[in-house]
């Protein structure tokens, strides 16, 4: 399954990157979303996959007995998910604000500050 997910991750990165390269601001946001899914899945996959055995200790037990999924990457991904939620929300507000003041969502029109 790691192999398949590796390709899924690649596809998500590719799709995300492609969307970020579009000229439309809104597409860029969707690209960001895809990219964050890709990164999370990457962490998940590389940290080894274990089916079904979640890192939750049964009531009354002191520890896990069976092979189980690694809890640490899960915690990391959870953090990353929440952060990217915040980022997405902010980016949306920014996009709105930018669209209001620039008058277009065409990123190629937004190059007044560079040269």
């Amino acid at each position: 399954m790691e192999t398949i997910l590796a390709f899924v991750i690649g596809a998500l990165y590719a799709a995300g990157i492609y969307m970020m390269l579009r000229r439309s601001l809104v597409k860029l946001l969707i690209g960001l979303g895809l990219l964050s899914h890709a990164a999370n899945l990457l962490i998940f996959t590389v940290a080894k996959l274990v089916r079904a055995n979640s890192p939750v200790i049964a009531a009354g037990e002191q520890t896990l007995s069976t092979p189980h999924a690694d809890p640490l990457p899960q915690a990391l991904i959870l953090t990353a998910i929440v952060i990217s939620f915040g980022v997405t929300a902010f980016a949306l507000a920014l996009a709105y604000r930018a669209y209001k003041s620039v008058g277009t969502d065409d990123l190629n029109e937004m190059k007044g500050t560079d040269v």
């Binding site: 959870l78 929440v82 915040g86 929300a89 949306l92 507000a93």
Partner: protein
């Protein structure tokens, strides 16, 4: 103002407390079963978000009762304080301290600063999500 569906509004009224209840449930079991402050906070925000979609952000704000940014502040503060409790006791910052609250023989609950911390997380997530949802809804 466009008229909003009666069916939606009535159903949401019913769902709203249910979702909040569920949030509390998810929160309390989080330390032992899947769940916790984040998810609980998200579910609770979903309740208010739903409310604000069905009614309006104004009424949803009224339902929350406090300025949502205060919730964020409160959440951060609670989390910080939970970390400082251990530190002021001479331990390292964010050290978990545990104890029991019990009313024998009715119940005995284990409480600790990590739970307090999780409350902070809950409040912060709730506050943030609502701040964002309401602000986006109120864009003219």
């Amino acid at each position: 103002m466009k008229i909003v569906s009666l069916i939606l509004r009535t159903t949401v009224r019913f769902l709203f407390p249910l979702l909040l209840l569920f949030a509390v449930f998810i929160f309390l079991r989080g330390h032992n079963e899947p769940g916790g402050g984040f998810i609980a906070g998200l579910v609770a925000s979903a309740a208010y978000a739903l409310y604000s979609i069905a009614w309006s952000s104004k009424e949803a704000r009224h339902a929350v009762g406090v300025e949502t940014r205060m919730l964020i502040g409160a959440g951060l503060l609670v989390a910080l304080v939970s970390g400082l409790i251990g530190a002021l006791g001479g331990q390292s910052f964010l050290t978990g301290l545990w104890g029991y609250i019990s009313i024998p023989p009715l119940f005995k609950v284990e409480v600790g600063t990590p739970v307090l911390f999780d409350i902070g997380v809950f409040l912060a997530v709730l506050g943030v999500t609502l701040t964002i949802v309401f602000a986006l809804e109120e864009v003219e």
